[in-house]
């Protein structure tokens, strides 16, 4: 295992020290509870947005904390759910009187722990909490860590769009409805060329032959739909885009927001090349691209590969997408 780390047990804690040092005016980090907060929060009257999950998917979620996106993110150990104590503390801290929205990727541990935290926050501190679960991965129905579909790329788009909605003062119910709509109208599919290595494990999560790729891989290296022979980018793009378009039932003339996401270990030049293939397929199908985002946004450590997320676009989502955001991972207009 070749990594820029000290003790594998300290990776998450030390990376959070680095985040705090790198963004002193923008983030505040509770190092005991491993929670990343907006330095300027909580905002009175604004719905608080809390997410979190296992570490190893950076910049998700801590890198999406800031004006226009999340108010707090709870960092679990590598590929491991945070615990209810973290979520409870974050929920209480960001409540500005308008309630708190939990954004939860559909993995058994995350769902269970966020549920428990929501109940405790309501009972103990009287905070109104609504949870929205993302489950946008079309690859498999159930998976290693899930009942139902896994939550992946749509989570990034949702955090941005609902973050903007909260910023403009929408109610908790409106934010939750919007979040559910985004999850229902967005779908993803990923693939891997190589595995990643969790530091504490010290060896690759899965084995993949030199001439193979995994189509439909999960962001923890969970098995996908099939293992098949390595193929050119044009063919890989087809294998990712077609099931997403089919599952969403996208028709000619519709518009989408596209996320071409890197899994962490693929160079940016390859991600742009893949985006060319994806945009060509969409163009051929008569589907318009309202907005796009190309880069590493929800990763699996150093895994090589990518995923495609398509979200049905309407005027409201595009306007909220364009609204100012100021986080380490996504920033414009501020």
């Amino acid at each position: 295992m070749k990594k820029l780390i000290n003790d594998p047990a300290d990776v998450v804690a030390e990376a959070l020290l680095g985040m705090a040092a790198a963004h002193p005016g923008r983030l505040r980090v509770d190092h005991d509870l491993k929670i990343v907060y907006r330095a300027d929060g909580p905002s009175q009257g604004k719905v608080g947005l809390v997410s979190g999950g296992g570490s190893g998917h950076e910049p998700l979620h801590g890198g999406f904390v800031g004006p226009g996106m999340l108010d707090a993110a709870c960092a679990g150990e590598m590929f491991t759910s945070p615990v209810p104590d973290q979520m409870m503390a974050a929920t209480g801290a960001v409540d500005g009187g308008a309630g708190v929205l939990h954004i939860v990727k559909n993995y058994t541990g995350d769902v269970m722990n966020f549920e428990m935290a929501a109940e405790l926050a309501a009972a103990d501190a009287g905070v109104e909490v609504v949870s929205v679960v993302t489950d946008d991965d079309v690859a498999v129905q159930d998976s290693l860590f899930t009942a139902g579909r896994r939550g992946v790329g749509v989570t990034v788009l949702l955090e941005k769009i609902v973050g903007a909605a909260a910023e403009e003062g929408r109610s908790l119910q409106d934010c939750a409805d919007l979040a559910r709509k985004i999850n229902q109208t967005g779908r993803s599919m990923g693939m891997a060329l190589t595995s990643c290595t969790v530091p504490a494990a010290g060896k690759p999560t899965f084995d993949l032959a030199d001439d193979e790729m995994e189509i439909g891989v999960g962001i923890h290296g969970e098995p996908g739909r099939e293992r098949r022979a390595l193929a050119p980018a044009a063919e890989i793009a087809q294998l990712l885009v077609e099931p997403v378009v089919a599952d969403l039932g996208l028709d000619r003339g519709e518009d989408v927001i596209v996320l071409l996401n890197g899994m962490g270990g693929s160079p940016l030049i390859e991600l742009y090349l893949m985006y060319h293939e994806v945009s060509r397929i969409l163009d051929g199908a008569g589907i318009g691209v309202a907005r796009s985002l190309v880069g590493n946004y929800i990763t699996s450590l150093e895994m090589a590969g990518c995923s495609v997320t398509l979200l049905r676009a309407d005027d409201d989502t595009v306007r909220l997408w364009d609204a100012p955001v100021n986080t380490p991972g996504l920033r414009w207009g501020i």
Copy 2:
């Protein structure tokens, strides 16, 4: 070789198609000449900034084209200098009457070709051109592709800071003076855990044993100072920061802008962990951090590793650093 590509010969051209598709309102790409332009340029009366170099270092340079940074970037083939024709065309296209600054990383091919292009642009089109060469890498004196030090991370900081200076209307001479000052007061040192693979070569550029790392590596995988046993992040940070601090002659009480740059294949969580170590060393040496940037900015395809760049900070450079910028790779305030 496992890559998200089609034919290795088409990688640069197809990635540029992807860049154009991903940033339609912001970039304009000349696909014949492989030049990335600001969609809104040239600006009358503003000094034009042109850079470029071999591809494989993305987002450098094409990803730094836009308001507040470069006006044009010439993309060479992978790890290969662009040709004078590209540079000449870009120079002519961005001239808004105030002259053009060439920002050239110190590699033999780039220096030679930019020199030729500057002469031709002056002779043929009457464009006033000044060239500034970056040579900030303290690792080695001469190298595989250089006479003198290599140009690396300072190039990113220079393009941002001088980009802002050009935007506020400074003259060609002032921009060139500022660029030279930045190069003289900034230094870098990099390291690799793994090699990268150039698509056309199909195999790793160099071999590195499972328990080894290369200290002082170049951004094309050129040999550095030494190959030594893999070490913890804290020790790696020492090996990078100390030679840079020594070479700059930084004293207690001075301030720097820090770039903790990923080589492309190291996950963001490791880069933040490394930044923690770097900031701890600087803190211990009494050196203040005025601004910092952590992420993949000047890469070597999928190489795992990182580099540290320190730039002496003064009020002018920090103010220009903070000025609005709107490029795919670096964006704030717009």
